[in-house]
Symmetry: C2
Subunit: 310 residues, 2 copies
């Protein structure tokens, strides 16, 4: 299915057109913009020529994009979701956070942020629950240690920002029946780098498919389901923030995520748990962070603002 770089002049259309469009970029554009937008123009034009895309097909695509913008607001980012369905967020995530593979060990793998994170989730005390007004969930005690991936030492003052869906498959901002900020919380490690809190064993759920992303999935004959997962952002002074998800091994969509975010090292086991009246399952997971120093040394690709040169 891969197309083989049918570039510039190997076609029956105006051989100078794409170069002229790219050459219109002015002298004051930043080097990064010149490179990235120039390459985008080349790839999009090659795509259009290789497939002999018609005006009607292109306008259908424009309509999809305009619909995505119109349906987006503070609580929904449909442009992002369209990209997710095409594997773009997962790929960009891999590109951005890749650390050289010749490192002696590796930090925890990353996964996409997704469109449901909210800033300023409540700070909670270690050992608290993030579950409120839900009585049909599989209560889980999650615990582990946050360490430096190079030294193996525990990290004090690491913040763990966690969020997941309710058993009905909805995040709290999608669901008027949940209290604000339900199933979200931020926990901060002490000297031993350890954390523990109560959450639910999550459930698989469909991405919102009542907009253009759903239309695209339908055209592609694909389902909208995501395997059950819990989202995290780990951050600590001197360390690169880690955006990731962990996935339930026994979920039926584990090999078939609609947004392509699953990685082997992020698949976990929820173990049945006795002796704690507040939990039916136990989950242990350690997070390994990369210090900025280590990341720099290992050639990790730092984020570059779109408007700056690189």
């Amino acid at each position: 299915m891969a197309t083989n770089g049918n570039t510039t002049n190997n076609h029956k259309f105006d051989p100078n057109f794409t170069a002229a469009v790219i050459a219109a970029t002015g002298p004051k554009a930043s080097p990064r913009i010149r490179k990235v937008v120039g390459s985008l123009i080349q790839h999009l034009h090659d795509f259009l020529r290789e497939n002999e895309v018609t005006v009607e097909e292109w306008l259908a695509g424009v309509d999809l994009i305009n619909q995505a913008g119109r349906i987006s607001d503070d609580k929904r980012n449909e442009g992002q979701l369209l990209c997710d369905v095409l594997g773009i967020e997962s790929l960009v995530d891999e590109i951005t956070y890749k650390v050289a593979t010749d490192a002696p060990d590796e930090p925890t793998a990353t996964a996409i942020l997704g469109p449901f994170w909210r800033k300023d989730a409540p700070r909670r005390n270690m050992g608290d629950t993030i579950v409120f007004e839900i009585d049909n969930g599989d209560n889980t005690l999650m615990s582990g240690t946050v360490t430096d991936f190079v030294t193996g030492k525990p990290i004090e003052g690491a913040e763990l920002d966690v969020w997941h869906t309710a058993p009905n498959g909805l995040y709290e901002q999608q669901d008027p029946n949940q209290p604000d900020m339900n199933l979200r919380g931020r926990f901060t490690t002490g000297k031993d780098g350890k954390y523990h809190f109560y959450c639910l064993r999550p459930t698989s759920y469909p991405i919102p498919d009542d907009g253009p992303s759903g239309k695209l999935l339908q055209l592609l004959d694909r389902h909208p389901m995501r395997p059950a997962h819990i989202h995290f952002i780990l951050s600590a002074p001197g360390y690169k923030p880690l955006v990731t998800q962990i996935f339930d091994r026994r979920d039926k969509y584990i090999t078939n995520d609609s947004v392509f975010a699953v990685k082997d090292s992020l698949i976990v086991d929820f173990e049945p748990f006795k002796g704690d009246p507040k939990a039916d399952f136990k989950l242990d997971y350690d997070f390994r962070l990369a210090s900025y120093e280590a990341a720099e040394k290992d050639g990790a690709n730092g984020a570059t603002p779109m408007t700056s040169s690189a």
Copy 2:
């Protein structure tokens, strides 16, 4: 500046990722969707890897797309305008309407529709003006013949749908001071295939640059100007509709159109004109249409709806 098809496995990222995303397409997707979206995924992923696009850069792009949708409505199509700035509409126009070059003659070249066409422009009588409530324009008598490009015979009943901007650079739907449907009209040829009407010698103008397209132009250090032009759609029973524009040779932006629509055969001369109190300039232009029969024979690429197989 052209990138040279750095495809699938020639990079340091997961070599199986893109193939897995493409392979997720289900068995009931139409062959055309499978081909086009598969190729789009391949090109976008190659683009992201080749440029090592970061999450932050990608999110800036998503934001641009969401903004485009939000600013779009019945009178403005910003998703289309973003494409225009990248040369996409002009290229898709070329692809869609290209007729095999071994034809004995060629029909009139096409140009992009642009975002300002309105359906149901008023039907007017031959010889009428399309200019109302404007007294600072260069009045022009435009005339010519609509013919079959193969036989050279005049076409009876051809409809010429024309629209252009006022001297202030605004189309009537952008300008509350112009009457509805100003500078627009539809004329129908008689047996001789001839047409004539009064319009203005048009002026160059900027595309709307208060939205994401303007932001993109700014990042690219480009101007938003279009050379002065008049839009047309020609249609007649049994003939392929012709969407085109003609451009004023003396315009300073004639070699530097912000949406890359100018073609040599569409550049015209407005000649000073004496003896008609209603016109300061005269413009002659003949339109040559392709019948569906001729278009079929010469291998022209018909439009294919996005949801059908091809």
